[in-house]
């Protein structure tokens, strides 16, 4: 197992946002976490990324307990996340957005050498821009990109840190249906070509079904099911949660 959580919990006061979740992912797999809004997906995700520290339980990465490692420490270990709300460097060029992220693996404190003089880093940046289809936009200021392009840039920034495991938080948020299809293909392609391990968060069940190796369903902070996409679609409890049949009376 590349990454594992054992009985991980996160409480905000009395609210059990994530409650006793066991999760694991193998090297090279694409696993999705789905659930209705407020199910605890993003909180769980942030327990893995390091933004939150678990109230109880453990997060293990490559056999090491990283429960209390900070976000930048985890990033240096190879756990990198993207944001649900686009988070880029708006006034920097597209190229610089990705290059800066790649720089985190090379140099933080060199104050004399020219930043653009590291050819390996520049090459890597161009490769990533080609992977996410932004190579011809490299000179533009990031804030000028379209919404869909910004989402790709977001993925590009994450890829530049050479992650072992990539955490994608609703990468298709705000995209049109056509863009969404394109984006899901890109994610699958990245997973195949770069042998990346990906954890994908989605609330739209249809996005993940075609591309995931496995799916975990969260509901009210608890794990409801974890299985292959086919079995998840056939799972009655999951259908009830998503379609609101019986399990969740509306007038609670």
């Amino acid at each position: 197992m590349l990454l594992q959580t054992n009985g991980v919990c996160k409480y905000f006061g009395g609210l059990k946002a994530v409650d006793q979740v066991d999760f694991s992912i193998e090297q090279g797999k694409l696993k999705s976490i789905i659930g209705p809004n407020g199910a605890g997906k993003t909180t769980f995700f942030n327990l893995v990324s390091g933004l939150y520290k678990p109230t109880h339980g453990q997060v293990t990465f490559q056999g090491k307990d990283v429960s209390h490692a900070s976000m930048n420490e985890r990033s240096q270990l190879g756990i990198t996340k993207t944001y649900q709300i686009t988070s880029i460097f708006p006034r920097l060029s597209v190229f610089e957005n990705v290059r800066l992220s790649a720089q985190s693996r090379v140099s933080m404190f060199n104050s004399w050498r020219k930043a653009y003089s590291y050819s390996a880093m520049n090459n890597r940046t161009m490769e990533i821009l080609e992977h996410v289809g932004l190579a011809d936009q490299q000179g533009r200021t990031a804030s000028e990109l379209s919404h869909g392009e910004k989402r790709y840039l977001e993925i590009g920034i994450a890829l530049a840190t050479e992650p072992t495991i990539l955490l994608l938080d609703e990468p298709t948020a705000g995209m049109s249906p056509a863009e969404t299809v394109e984006a899901t293909h890109l994610i699958r392609k990245l997973s195949n070509e770069l042998k990346l391990t990906i954890i994908l968060i989605e609330h739209d069940i249809s996005v993940v079904m075609g591309i995931s190796d496995e799916v975990m369903v969260l509901h009210e902070g608890k794990k409801l099911a974890e299985d292959t996409p086919e079995k998840i679609s056939a799972n009655e409890t999951v259908q009830n949660v998503y379609l609101g049949k019986g399990a969740e009376p509306c007038s609670r």
Binding site: S75, T80, Y83, Y116, A120, T161
Partner: protein
């Protein structure tokens, strides 16, 4: 060689933006202007412009480039000034050593501020830096009066430089060019700093602190080092100020100094490299001229500051660059 080959294989990249190219030219233009400046305005004013411009650039390392607002830069300038003056006054050392001591003094205060406040953001960082600077002001004013001479200022003997050639710093022209060369070198060093991997990381912090942390950067250490650099260059400006004034004075440490540098920087444009330099030139030129006509110069300078900020919301140089950018956009592919 191998690295060069690789470059050709991947699609060409052109990382330098037009802004960087323009700023680079503006930097040389302003430095070229520096050569003729003492013949356009009075030599003391020209010297003062150079020193405060360096101070404003150092201040903007934090405000414009890292995105941290400091209201305590008087502390770095003032301690730099005292450190530089004291080693001359009590140690009898030369001007070069004095400038090194000034830089060390500025950096030392910056290290203290950094240790106490680096994890604080926005107004909290500003207030802690202001509090430390004010403490230093009152320390210099009375408890340390025995060493600082308090309100009387620590007066220096006439100074000269013998290396690499003889300069008499009591001569206004020689003093100006001495200051100018050091400021020019410091400006070039800051340019280099901001275009290094470290400098780019600073911009990343300014643009999106959360994101750059998620990329794996150690924000706290980078910010700490950025405060040190800012203190170092501010200290150097303080050392030059002591040489120019022939004294280290407590007014340098007063909070007004911290306020004026904010005005100069904002006037020129915080999101630019040369903005603070240009802002300082305009500010000191206006102040100097207006104070020839009226004792109430603060009021007029204040009014003009407001008018200029309304006209140039991004600062003088910042707004010029913005307008150039807008003009370029339709034609840009």
């Amino acid at each position: 060689m191998n690295a060069k080959k690789q470059t050709n294989e991947v699609a060409a990249y052109k990382p330098h933006s037009w802004q960087t190219a323009l700023e680079f030219r503006a930097m040389w233009a302003v430095l070229a202007l520096g050569i003729v400046l003492p013949f356009l305005v009075s030599k003391p004013l020209a010297t003062e412009i150079m020193i405060y411009a360096l101070f404003a650039l150092a201040f903007n390392l934090l405000l414009g480039h890292t995105g941290m607002i400091s209201f305590g830069h008087a502390g770095y300038l003032g301690v730099g000034s005292y450190a530089g003056a004291m080693v001359v006054f009590y140690g009898g050392v030369g001007v070069w050593v004095s400038l090194l001591a000034a830089m060390a003094g500025g950096a030392l205060v910056a290290a203290v501020v950094g240790l106490l406040a680096v994890k604080r953001k926005g107004a909290y960082f500003a207030m802690i830096s202001l509090a430390i600077a004010q403490m230093l002001y009152f320390l210099a004013l009375s408890p340390f009066k025995r060493w600082t001479e308090g309100e009387d200022s620590l007066k220096l003997p006439p100074l000269s430089v013998d290396f690499p050639f003889h300069l008499n710093l009591s001569d206004q022209t020689q003093l100006y060019f001495f200051v100018f060369v050091i400021v020019a070198l410091a400006v070039l060093a800051q340019w280099r700093l901001l275009n290094s991997p470290f400098g780019h990381a600073l911009k990343g912090i300014r643009e999106n602190e959360d994101r750059i942390r998620a990329c794996g950067f150690n924000i706290t250490r980078i910010k700490f080092l950025s405060i040190i650099y800012s203190g170092l260059f501010s200290g150097l400006a303080g050392g030059l100020l002591a040489i120019y004034l022939g004294a280290a004075s407590v007014t340098t440490l007063f909070w007004m100094t911290s306020g004026v540098v904010v005005m100069q920087t904002v006037l020129g444009g915080t999101h630019t490299f040369m903005g603070p330099f240009i802002g300082t030139m305009v500010f000191l030129y206006l102040r100097n001229n207006i104070s020839n006509y009226t004792d109430r110069w603060e009021m007029w300078v204040g009014a003009m500051f407001m008018a200029l900020i309304l006209l140039f919301p991004e600062g003088i140089w910042g707004t010029v660059m913005q307008k150039i950018g807008e003009r370029r956009r339709p034609s840009a592919s």
